[in-house]
Symmetry: C2
Subunit: 664 residues, 2 copies
């Protein structure tokens, strides 16, 4: 009896199953997290599938658009070395699921072996009887005309009325194989134990051009606090540059206690507008609008006007409070209190942020806190907002984000969350896995060719790309890089081209960017002098030295060239000059191939020979071809893999070539 | 209410836990399979451990020698980039388990921040009160003298009797930190959800020298069927060559129906002894001994004698039957029957093995079949056998092996199973994961330098090494490689050195090997002419051209040099001649460093410059050092990284250098 118990540890339904399915790709952390796609994209699934012995296998990829539907099956093809592949296309927002089923195919095995035996001239009389049984079994699983046909074939193989050769021909006929394969015996089939998930987003999750702007600085006359009405007047300007997302820093009432002054002075005076990230005052908290910006109606009107210009408004989501936020009085249990009875303000010693109280996510009342924060997101979703730039998500628990983003996206799958986590790589990746749609990157601090190759190969050619969608920013109100500080206008052009072509999603913080604002608070600092975070600015966007035309051209190139709408085809190419970086993107059908060449040196003209893998672009290396520089509109006749380039940063520091095949 | 339900999807005990533990290594397929170690080895465990925010973390590696014991804890150290490490040593046979626990360390966080604030000259009065509370909390988790001490410190920090400086000094003292760290608050600790397993084997699982021999060919006079008594007489010979495992092909009664004749003739005559792998006859099956070999008592006596010579007997385990095996009549339900009433014999079309019936593992009576096969293993274990070479495991279901090996090793953790699966790589690796202790490899067919570097880097420097222990065979009764056929004696010496030094476990099939038997059945075949599989052979092991002395020397070098007892330190080194391969192995403490140089060309003398990473051997590149060729006993004074070698295959085709530091 003891022995029986031990065999019985193997479930009765498992002991005869012989197929193994492993190393399924794509798969994030064993299926713990979903992969990401946008509508219309393919999911190419591969797996190692094998069994003991020499039997033939069959395998199908299973997929469904939600967890309730029936599986759709796609036959998988054996590639090589026990690796199988199939693909499906996602066409609806939300969560798709996929898995794999495979089984020993008794009929295919028999047919393959029969072929070999016949070829070797062996006796196959018994084999034909075996085949008759297998076909009769298939008939038992079929119905109607198919079942009749199969039964007829089975009888023919068995009856020995026809000649043996005629029966062999029948047994090996494609018609028999095709019909039998429709009724396989899956009694001992194995299904991969995990239903792998795909989060399907709208296209903007993959391809978007962001413009960050402080609405309070939109006023045409200096000194006045800008309003949503002022923002409306700026929409044609932003649209003319080709941006499709307009992101506002927090639009809520700003606290007065410990309000920061100009240049982050510890105590502002009563005139200072304060930092928009010090959210909450007596006028309200995260669901309120700063009275000086306008009303909720004004906001709705602005959103509608923006839509007319092809622009979507993105809001900031900063889960933190000023000391004056109503939450502090209403929910003291959501904050950590110090022994002296004060609330623990935000700090990163020795830095102090006395105007900001973080939530205490370790509170025993975390459930109420989570619900309240979700209600903030849902409130703005109710107002029509579908894009959120989430401030410092890495200072709130991962488990909270997974719940919040999962829950919101289940109800509103068109919502996009951009993770503003400038922190250690594993934390940034974890947040992306948990559900953030897009993520800020280290792009701003990557300057050398080696750095670009290394980082963007990791982001676009490794499993990271299954869950982490990069958003490349040239600058932000917190980040004025040393490269921009030192390089001036050529550096701004270089960074724009890099961000806009390395990244299908990118953003600039303007008008500081197009006006090439690059004065740091102090040497060595990445903070802007007289930062807009602490004061109202007035920007003269009509200045003749503005980069707005250049930006408009780059965004038009992006829009017109589908190769630039995605990151996965990015490949770097050899140039014999370390100051020049060259890379390409292409559509799957090669109808659109873009080659970008950028001079990273903002001081001097640089030249070199670029080496291109013409075959992968669909070009014949022995024939001449044309490259069309979409920035300068110049066309060059090139031939062969190696061609000369020369870029003067004082003119334009980059080429964005479209590769043209003869006839294109 | 609906909202509450959704938050409640997150378990109450999870919502406040902020630490993530991921990418634990070693870990095979997400913990689905155990890693392998031998007694005395270390398990070095690494993981990515991080949380949101800026809090300090603490982490401990947990391990235990069986699933019932309490966890032992080892503090983990942060390496870099959120990667943590700790290690433990396995000292008992069986299954160890390991996991990781990590938590936000509130006290460490506070202490680190206090240090920074003090350094910045900030006001810390409230911080000291916070610290007092944290220390008092630790006192609550402690007891006895520790609790008293902690309470006293907490009072000192709070009371403001001492000067602030004195209180700061106390707060930052190592003594306080050390004692508090013994009583951490683990209320919100996170434990890795998988208990990862280690199968701990005895040393022979990692380091073993195998000799395969047909006992029926051991007779001193030609023509007679050898016996176990004859084998006894061969033990001194085998021991003198330095082997510690003697593996016999099946020793069971051999079927008569369809018995194979000489050179695999389809029908033997009545004189033919048959293939030992056609197991079972009227005299019995897998638990019986072939009457012509002797009795069970003879077998016991042989095992005892072998032990005296330091040799362990390994048996073959071939789960298949001759048509005369008692199972066929007693358990027809364990075989697949054909429509003509015959049993389906083994085949790999167009090849037929009519003398062998495979079991039908898809039988509905699989449980009885499994139990019976396990009883075979347990029977021989009861006879004292602890090493099994398993024939063709890849033709039996994976689920069966996992159950069988797991069950047997649970009861007899000193058992060693060698997987004889010469098949596709993923199947070989799967079998290793399932529990085989050692595995045959593709070594026999790897001939070029590039092939050695590629294959042995995969086996020894990738995660494969955690579960797949290579066993390198120069030849087997089925494998007489083209290299040995063409290269004669120099080729045999080359392959011996390669097998014995690339692999901590290796084997030869003798006396065919030491007598340089290399006549193939026909050109292009890897079968031996007049193969011992189908007839009784008589070997003259006293022949003067035997390699026995050379083999003895190589095995002595293996025994005396611990660097060769393991595979993980294997590294290949540059030689400017593709016909010469160079590699090294070393002990962790560098007390034993072996460098092997082999001429792969059995025809011509080859020479070249080898380039060695002297620093990794503990040698000073600017000082001369000695290399001692353990094969020729010659010593050379070398200097610098590049040194000249020249190898004449007609003399000795290899160097096995021991690297000697000055004074060694």
């Amino acid at each position: 009896m003891a022995k029986r118990t031990e065999v019985d540890k193997v479930p009765v339904e498992e002991g005869r199953k012989r197929v193994v399915i492993e190393r399924v790709e794509p798969e994030v952390d064993g299926g713990r997290f979903p992969i990401k796609r946008t509508i219309g994209e393919e999911v190419v699934v591969e797996a190692d599938i094998f069994s003991d012995g020499h039997d033939a296998l069959s395998a199908v990829l299973l997929y469904r658009a939600d967890s309730d539907s029936a599986w759709v099956e796609v036959p998988m093809q054996l590639l090589v070395n026990d690796r199988w592949r199939a693909a499906f296309r996602v066409t609806r927002l939300g969560r798709y699921y996929y898995s794999i089923t495979a089984w020993i195919d008794r009929f295919q095995t028999w047919r393959r072996d029969l072929e070999k035996k016949v070829a070797a001239g062996q006796e196959v009389a018994v084999e034909l009887l075996t085949g008759a049984q297998l076909i009769a079994d298939a008939a038992g699983r079929a119905s109607g005309g198919s079942a009749q046909k199969l039964r007829r074939w089975a009888r023919s193989l068995q009856a020995q009325v026809d000649s043996e050769q005629a029966r062999i021909d029948l047994a090996l006929s494609d018609e028999v194989a095709a019909l039998v394969s429709r009724y396989p015996d899956r009694g001992l089939a194995v299904t991969y134990p995990v239903d792998l998930a795909v989060v399907v987003d709208r296209e903007k999750a993959r391809f978007s051009s962001w413009y960050e702007m402080f609405p309070r600085s939109c006023t045409p006359e200096p000194g006045r606090h800008g309003t949503f009405r002022d923002c409306e007047a700026k929409l044609p300007y932003i649209a003319s540059m080709g941006f499709d997302v307009l992101y506002f820093p927090p639009i809520h009432p700003i606290g007065r206690t410990n309000r920061k002054g100009k240049n982050n002075a510890p105590m502002g005076d009563s005139e200072d507008p304060g930092s928009p990230w010090a959210i909450g005052a007596e006028e309200g908290g995260h669901k309120a609008i700063h009275p000086q910006l306008g009303t909720l109606d004004d906001f709705h009107r602005l959103m509608a006007r923006a839509r007319e210009h092809g622009i979507e408004i993105a809001l900031d989501m900063s889960f933190q409070c000023s000391p004056d936020h109503p939450y502090v009085a209403e929910h003291p249990e959501w904050f950590r209190w110090r022994p002296d009875g004060s609330v623990q303000y935000a700090e990163n010693p020795p830095k102090k942020y006395q105007d900001i109280y973080p939530f205490d996510f370790e509170t025993e009342h975390w459930q109420e806190l989570w619900e309240e924060l979700r209600s903030v997101v849902l409130y703005w979703i109710d107002q029509g907002v579908r894009i959120f730039r989430v401030d410092n998500p890495h200072t709130k628990p991962f488990v909270f984000w997974e719940w919040l983003l999962g829950d919101v996206k289940r109800k509103h799958p068109d919502t996009i969350f951009l993770s503003e986590a400038f922190t250690r790589p594993k934390i940034m990746y974890r947040l992306a896995k948990l559900g953030f749609t897009q993520s800020y990157t280290y792009f701003a601090w990557r300057n050398t060719k080696w750095e670009f190759v290394d980082y963007f190969t990791e982001l676009t050619q490794t499993p990271v790309r299954e869950y982490f969608r990069p958003s490349l920013w040239t600058n932000t109100p917190d980040i004025l890089t040393e490269y921009l500080q030192s390089g001036g206008r050529p550096a701004f052009m270089t960074r724009l081209v890099l961000a806009a072509t390395l990244g299908a999603s990118y953003g600039i913080y303007g008008p500081a960017f197009e006006l090439c604002e690059n004065r740091p608070k102090e040497p060595g600092s990445e903070e802007y002098l007289d930062s807009e975070k602490y004061e109202i600015k007035h920007w003269d966007t009509d200045r003749p030295d503005s980069l707005k035309e250049f930006i408009a051209r780059v965004n038009r190139i992006r829009r017109d060239n589908p190769a630039l709408h995605s990151d996965w085809s990015l490949r770097f190419h050899t140039v014999d000059n370390d100051q020049i970086v060259c890379y390409s993107k292409q559509t799957e059908d090669l109808s659109n191939v873009i080659v970008v060449v950028v001079n990273l040196d903002y001081r001097y003209t640089q030249s070199g020979w670029v080496e291109l893998p013409l075959e992968t672009f669909g070009l014949n290396p022995s024939e001449p071809y044309q490259v069309h520089d979409l920035l300068s509109d110049a066309r060059y006749a090139w031939q062969g893999r190696r061609n000369y380039v020369e870029l003067n940063p004082q003119v334009v520091p980059a080429h964005i070539f479209r590769m043209l095949r003869p006839g294109q």
